[in-house]
C-alpha cells in the first residue's frame, strides 16, 4: 500500500526558531512536493524536488528552504519561523513527470508559531 508519512501531526514553535518538517515516501517516487494549506486559499506549492539534491521553487517559497539527500526523504525547513507561517503543511509524492500520474499526500503537519 502506498504511503507518505510526515514526522509530526502537530507542532508548536516559537517565533525565530528553526523548524524542520520531515516527509518520507515508500514508493520510490522521483518527485516530492511541499504544500501549505490555508482556509480559503487551498493548497499552495512551496517547493518541489524532481530528484535527489534537485529542487525547484513553487509559488510561495519565501521564508522556506528544502533538502533532499535521499530519494525517499524530503525536508521542509523554516529558517526563522514567523507567526504568518502558522498553517497546515502537506507533503506529496508522485512517480514520474507524466501529468496522468496520481499524487499521493501525507496526513499533514499542523504547525503553530507563537
Amino acid at each position: 500500500d502506498v504511503k507518505v508519512t510526515q514526522s509530526s501531526r502537530y507542532l508548536v514553535k516559537r517565533t525565530g526558531e528553526k523548524v524542520f518538517l520531515e516527509c518520507v515516501q515508500d514508493m520510490d517516487h522521483e518527485n516530492m512536493f511541499w504544500y501549505r494549506q490555508d482556509p480559503g486559499l487551498g493548497l499552495r506549492l512551496i517547493y518541489f524536488s524532481y530528484d535527489v539534491k534537485m529542487k525547484e521553487k513553487g509559488d510561495i517559497p519565501e521564508g522556506y528552504s528544502v533538502s533532499r539527500e535521499k530519494k525517499e526523504r524530503f525536508s521542509l525547513i523554516l529558517e526563522s519561523a514567523s507567526t504568518n507561517q502558522t498553517s497546515m503543511y502537506l507533503c506529496a509524492s508522485r512517480r514520474a513527470l507524466e501529468s496522468t500520474d496520481t499524487q499521493y499526500f501525507g496526513p499533514g503537519t499542523r504547525l503553530t508559531v507563537l
Binding site: L43, F48, T100
Partner: protein, 112 residues
Amino acid sequence: QQPVQSPQAVILREGEDAVINCSSSKALYSVHWYRQKHGEAPVFLMILLKGGEQKGHEKISASFNEKKQQSSLYLTASQLSYSGTYFCGTVPLIQGAQKLVFGQGTRLTINP
C-alpha cells in the same frame, strides 16, 4: 495562477446531487480531482485528460471542457461519506507535467 472553484461551500441532504466547478485562466492538459476528509490526507478521485473525460466511480463522475478551460465534478445521490473538501488540481498545457496547481477547495457537507 490557481484555478477557481465554485461554490466555495455547499450543504446537502443525503440523496441529493451536487456539482463542483473548476475554472482555469490557462489552457489545460489535465485536471485531477481530490477529496480531503477532516484531519486526513487528500485522496485521489480521478483524472481527466485533454481530449476526453473519465469516470472514476459509480456515483462520482466528472467532465472536462477544454474550450472553456473548466472541469466539473458530479456527485449523484450523495452519501454521508461524500462529506469533505474537494480540490481540483490542474496541469497547464504550457507549464509542463510536474506541477499540479490546486484550487481553493469546495467544502461539501452531507446531512442525514
